[in-house]
């Protein structure tokens, strides 16, 4: 039976084989043909050698995660077959490079059905290129097999290699075409999976979480970004610095993460929206200055793209092990906001919101993501720009300031938020002080002043509660038989699982927690009290959200799917659990 527009494609090869560009070109070629994709890269913490894979799940409806079921596997090395052949569905296909002897022998020994030998190295050579260009032969072969028009590939290669010049573009196109023609003639009639171009009206983009965060920040008027490279947060730095001159940003790679966060506090003090991003290790170094942001009431936005810890951990893999850390990092009590987007659209929207909160409520806002969300690409509609409003909060009016008095920067108010002046503003003099201070910022250790100022700061948490419109989201029907509970990047796999389970006639809904501080006690409690069967799903060992829910609501979620092998949860794991 022919299967149209539902294909999960995976290419694997050694690091340095061009797996990333092959995968991205495949995914964008599908996007341009009106198809929706989810594109997911796995790679070890190495530059050369080691095993890379890129998976692209293609459908007509919105694809929200990767999957452990592969329909078409493309092997540029033996390891791809060793590690991933078991993921292939029974009527799936394997394309491999038959010029590689060990690979050929191994492929033939392991699988007969739908085993498509392609002389990739030879075809690359005939196209006039080196062996490295095999990746384009492989992409061409894949599209040839599934009868997807070659011209999408042709155009994309031109776009991807634009900077490398027309010669390289042409070479890659020739190699892709050679693979396309070879497979199309020889094998395409044997393979049942096909992709067909669709006309769609609304333009879509293919974007990952890090890019979405960068876009949210630029849109929010963030002008100062300081960071130290750390996977999986680094691509935010790369993205922003490339826009430095187009959007008038200052993007600074610092000597360490301590400098990065102290800098963004300084920029915020000077009146500029600022942000940093790191992973758990870098955030460990930032904890003292996170409190500085809270104490001096200089709002900041800190992105933690989590990876498995502790210590260096698994640098290029994924985990949700830093929720508790984000909530409690830093000495003493100070107000903070912790947000957790679950997909690229939420990354964009919540980063914009984070900058408004940081400015208006003058405190640190943490955005928690992870490697899976940061780097996997998803097809989404063009981001909305119209309904987003900049909210800078209360700025002191120079005309109403007394020139020679110190400004009461930390005035005690109902909301805990006081209006602020900016350095250089006449009449606005105050001290931003990491020591406890009086209302103009001068150091003060009196019991009464301490109590008043601490309470003033902490009050902001209650004041801003209503400002966060959707601290939770409930997907699916209220009163479903099963309620899945999760946060962050598990959202995609959970929603994919629900689609499949609903198809099987099951009633399942999903409670997504998007804000941990202030914790939406009422909202979470009311959903969970009604739930008939609750299952907690987290990419960590200790079930950190589960613990938090128990602490805040008293509800203990006994059933748990916890995964902490560095790999994202896939929909099948959830489906299997629910189906017992």
């Amino acid at each position: 039976m022919i299967k149209i527009n539902r294909l999960n494609w995976k290419i694997g090869g050694e690091a340095g084989y061009g797996i990333l560009s092959a995968g991205e070109i495949f995914a964008y070629a599908c996007l341009h043909g009106g198809l929706e994709t989810f594109a997911y890269l796995e790679y070890p913490s190495l530059i050369r050698g080691g095993h890379n894979t890129y998976q692209v799940w293609v459908r007509e409806d919105n694809v929200q995660s990767h999957s452990s079921h592969i329909d078409l596997l493309v092997a540029l090395n033996k390891e791809t077959i060793e590690k991933h052949l078991h993921e292939l569905v029974p009527d799936g296909g394997l394309i491999y490079d038959e010029n590689d002897n060990t690979l050929r022998e191994y492929a033939c020994a392991t699988r007969q059905k739908n085993c498509f030998a392609v002389p990739m190295a030879d075809l690359a050579k005939q196209a006039g290129g080196q062996k490295v260009i095999r990746n384009m032969v492989a992409v061409g072969s894949s599209f040839g097999l599934i009868n997807y028009p070659y011209n999408y590939l042709f155009d994309l290669i031109a776009r991807f290699f634009e900077k490398k010049g027309s010669k390289i573009i042409e070479l890659n196109q020739l190699a892709a075409k050679a693979g396309y023609d070879y497979v199309n003639h020889k094998y395409s009639s044997q393979f049942e999976y096909k992709l067909k171009v669709r006309r769609i009206n609304n333009p879509k983009i293919l974007i990952n979480g890090n890019e979405a965060i960068a876009l949210g920040a630029i849109k929010a008027g963030m002008k100062f970004y300081a960071a130290y490279p750390m996977t999986p947060a680094t691509s935010i730095l790369h993205y922003l610095v490339a826009q430095e001159r187009n959007y008038n940003l200052v993007v600074k790679q610092t000597e360490d993460e301590i400098a990065a966060i102290n800098m963004i506090v300084g920029a915020s003090f000077a009146g500029v929206r600022s942000m940093t991003a790191t992973s758990g290790g870098g955030f460990s170094l930032m904890t003292e200055a996170l409190g500085l942001s809270g104490m001096t009431e200089c709002g900041t936005v800190v992105v933690i793209a989590q990876r498995p810890g502790p210590a260096t951990g698994l640098p290029t893999w994924t985990e949700q092990g830093d929720l508790r850390f984000a909530l409690h990092a830093g000495q003493g009590d100070f107000p903070r906001v912790v947000l957790a987007p679950g997909d690229p659209e939420e990354c964009y929207e919540l980063t914009f919101l984070a900058h408004n909160i940081a400015d208006k409520y003058q405190l640190p806002v943490i955005i928690l993501t992870d490697k899976y969300l940061a780097e996997a690409r998803q097809t989404v509609p063009l981001f909305n720009q119209d309904s987003l409003r900049i909210d800078r909060g209360e700025l002191a009016d120079t005309n109403r300031l007394a020139v020679d008095a110190r400004f009461v920067r930390y005035a005690v108010t109902m909301s805990g938020v006081s209006s602020r002046s900016l350095p250089g503003q006449a009449g606005g003099i105050f001290t931003a002080n990491s020591d406890e201070h009086d209302d103009t910022g001068l150091a003060n250790e009196e019991a009464k002043v301490r109590t008043i100022q601490l309470e003033k700061r902490m009050k902001k948490i209650q004041s801003l509660r209503a400002y966060i419109k959707e601290p939770i989201k409930l997907y699916g029907l209220e009163g479903a038989d099963i309620t899945l509970v999760g946060w962050g990047s598990t959202k995609g796999p959970i929603l994919e699982a629900i689609k499949a389970l609903t198809g099987e006639g099951k009633q399942v809904n999903f409670l997504q927690v998007r804000c941990f501080e202030p914790f939406p006690v009422k909202e979470v409690d009311s959903v969970l009290r009604q739930a008939k069967q609750r299952i907690l799903i987290e990419n960590n060992y200790s079930g950190q959200l589960g613990g938090l829910i128990r602490e805040k609501t008293g509800i203990d979620i006994a059933e748990k799917i916890l995964k902490y092998d560095g790999r994202p949860i896939n929909p099948e794991e959830i489906i299997n659990y629910v189906n017992g």
Binding site: I258, S434, G441
Partner: protein
Amino acid sequence: MSTGKDFETGQFPTWCPGCGDFGIWTALKNAFVEQGLAPYQICVVFGIGCSGNMASFLNVYGFHGLHGRSIPVATAIKLANHKLPVVAVGGDGDGYGIGLGHLIHAMRRNVDITYVVHNNQIYGLTKGQTSPTTEHGVVTKSTPFGAIEMPINPIALAIDTGATYVARGFSGNVKQLTELIIGAMKHKGFALIDVMQPCITFNHLNTFHWFYQRIYELDKEGHNPVDKAKAWARAMEWPTQLSVDENRIDKIFTGLFYQEYRATYESQLPQLQNQALVEQSIDDINIQPLLEKLA
């Protein structure tokens, strides 16, 4: 026209009577007054220590940050609003110990800020432990058998690392220190002023008397601060005989060791040429072109 009083918050300093910190406080106020600046036109970032406690005595836009972290804060304030004069103030532990990493990078970065270090060769606020500039062999609370490590030489370090204005002051010479601060603030680039500051409570070696015996002013010796080799040679001179000895010949030079004209970090950012970051409007930023690149 501002006066010295305008730069006082009204809180009288909590420093030990006779502490060298008073002289530095005075020199800063003088330098601001002499440049015709009003308090609101200046931003000073303080570290943590007896030195940093000046945050509560000096009336300016102040930022009293974390121990060792004044430089990154000051750097970012300058990048966010490069029209604002930015000064950083801290101790030797703050700047040469816990914060040394930031200092070295700030010097090679050459952001236009002035860094005044109260170098009392001791940790004052924590009550007398060894610091990165404590002389070899000196007994402190944390080195009861004498400091084993060699002290670092801030002037040599700064010349080597790329600071473009390198000076040593003495809190017993407020007039010279005032001039050095004015010179540093007028200088376009990173300025380090290492100020010898007797801690009368915990440092019983490097006292006012000890310094008066040894100090010589560079400009009176005909030193030319653009001569890097000479600056280096002068920087290398430091007493080898530490005890008070009326017949000693060792010299400590104060004044401007080295000055170089090199483009500042911020002057090399075209995005800052028209407006400071803080002056830019952030309403209605259009990201459509960026979205299209992802389509």
